[in-house]
């Protein structure tokens, strides 16, 4: 599957606590704590198997009333989330629970 069609899911071993300035995430298998700022938290929240990177960029564009879709920011954010194991790629769109 082409990368631009790829969707993502949040990893399963995460404990999440919402804060006024972002999300605190504890990852059990690495015993690490991560902090996501509000923008990264929104991208993370969109990793529900429903959205491609382009769709996420469009949602951020709407949410923050940006001048243009935030494609680069979403690329960087998804790359970081993948590198940290907080999200995993999934091949096709999944319906929300």
């Amino acid at each position: 599957m082409a990368e631009n069609e790829m969707r993502y899911l949040q990893a399963e071993d995460l404990e999440i606590t919402h804060m006024p300035d972002g999300w605190v995430i504890y990852q059990q298998h690495t015993d690490r704590v991560h902090f996501l700022n509000p923008t990264a938290a929104l991208v993370f929240e969109l990793c529900n198997g429903q959205h491609t990177r382009a769709e996420m960029a469009a949602i951020l564009y709407e949410a923050y009333q940006l001048a243009a879709p935030a494609a680069d920011e979403v690329e960087t954010c998804i790359s970081n989330l993948l590198a940290e194991g907080l999200v995993v790629p999934c091949s096709s769109s999944r319906s929300e629970p």
Binding site: E15, I16, T17, M19, P20, D21, G22, V24, I25, Y26, V33, F35
Partner: protein, 279 residues
């Protein structure tokens, strides 16, 4: 009969013994600050002599037998466990807790970073010291762990005016045979009180032996990162980490390269004054 009180946030353990030798060893764990805002539940524990050994009746049920030093180790565990139970879900920051001009300041650092040395200096200079080991981050506030300062014999030179009183404090020998004193913060002349605090200044210490002391402010993200590196997290880690994030957001956080102690006091006074003006 000798009675050795050991206070936690909600309890006062009282070790009762008629043996002077045991009392002298167990005095190392004596802890009697004023615990603000709480009536302490008394827990009386009897230490009996068994020939060359002792028997300690533990809280609840059970006993432990051994040398006075073995009983001391056991009581350290009992008291620390009690403290953990009293602050459910709280991460423990490895920090000394002091009040500079009335402003709470946490001196956060690893073993050997100078927390106790700086606390001693501040105590000698008339500032209030509460502890030098842990500070618990509760749901809405923070509270120091009631425990005496553990001062190496060689460290008393950093507080020469208090040296005589430090050397009168209960002591045990470490693995190298050097004495470690259990020093009540009250030896500085101010009452030893354990009180909750909100939005303390947080100062991360790095040793700079023989140099000048330098301090610089740090961002919320860096403060959070450093707090995570200097704490014990309970089982529920995400909400505990969130409490640390709250501390980082509410605090004025600084990094201090700790060299000369006079310089450190000057920086802390300025940091506390700035925090007071903000609040």
């Amino acid at each position: 009969m000798f009675v050795i009180p050991i206070r936690t946030l909600t309890r006062e353990f009282r070790l009762h013994t008629d043996c002077r030798q045991a009392a002298r060893v167990l005095a190392y764990i004596e802890t009697r600050p004023k615990i603000c805002g709480t009536a302490l539940e008394p827990v009386d524990l009897l230490v009996q002599r068994l020939g060359e050994f002792y028997r300690l009746a533990l809280p609840g049920s059970g006993t432990v037998e051994g040398t006075a030093f073995h009983l001391l180790d056991t009581m350290h565990r009992v008291v620390f466990t009690s403290f953990i139970e009293e602050v459910p879900g709280a991460p423990l920051i490895h920090a000394a807790s002091v009040r500079v001009g009335g402003v709470p300041v946490l001196l956060v650092g690893a073993k050997g970073s100078g927390k106790t040395t700086l606390a001693l200096h501040l105590m000698e200079r008339g500032h209030v010291v509460e502890g030098d080991e842990h500070v618990a981050v509760r749901e809405t506030d923070l509270v120091p762990r009631p425990r005496t300062l553990r001062v190496k014999a060689s460290s008393s030179r950093f507080a020469p005016a208090l040296a005589r009183r430090i050397r009168r404090a209960p002591s045990i020998a470490d693995g190298n045979g050097s004495l470690i004193y259990a020093v009540s913060p009250a030896v500085g002349g101010k009452p030893w009180r354990i009180a909750a605090m909100r939005a303390p200044c947080v100062v991360f210490l790095e040793p700079n032996h023989g140099g000048h002391t330098v301090a610089k402010p740090v961002s919320v993200d860096r403060a959070f990162n450093r707090l995570l590196g200097r704490c014990l997290l309970p089982v529920a880690k995400a909400p505990a980490a969130a409490r640390l994030r709250r501390v980082a957001r509410e605090a004025q956080a600084w990094e201090m390269s700790l060299g000369d102690l006079e310089g450190a006091e000057r920086h802390l006074t300025a940091i506390a004054a700035a925090a007071k003006s903000v609040h």
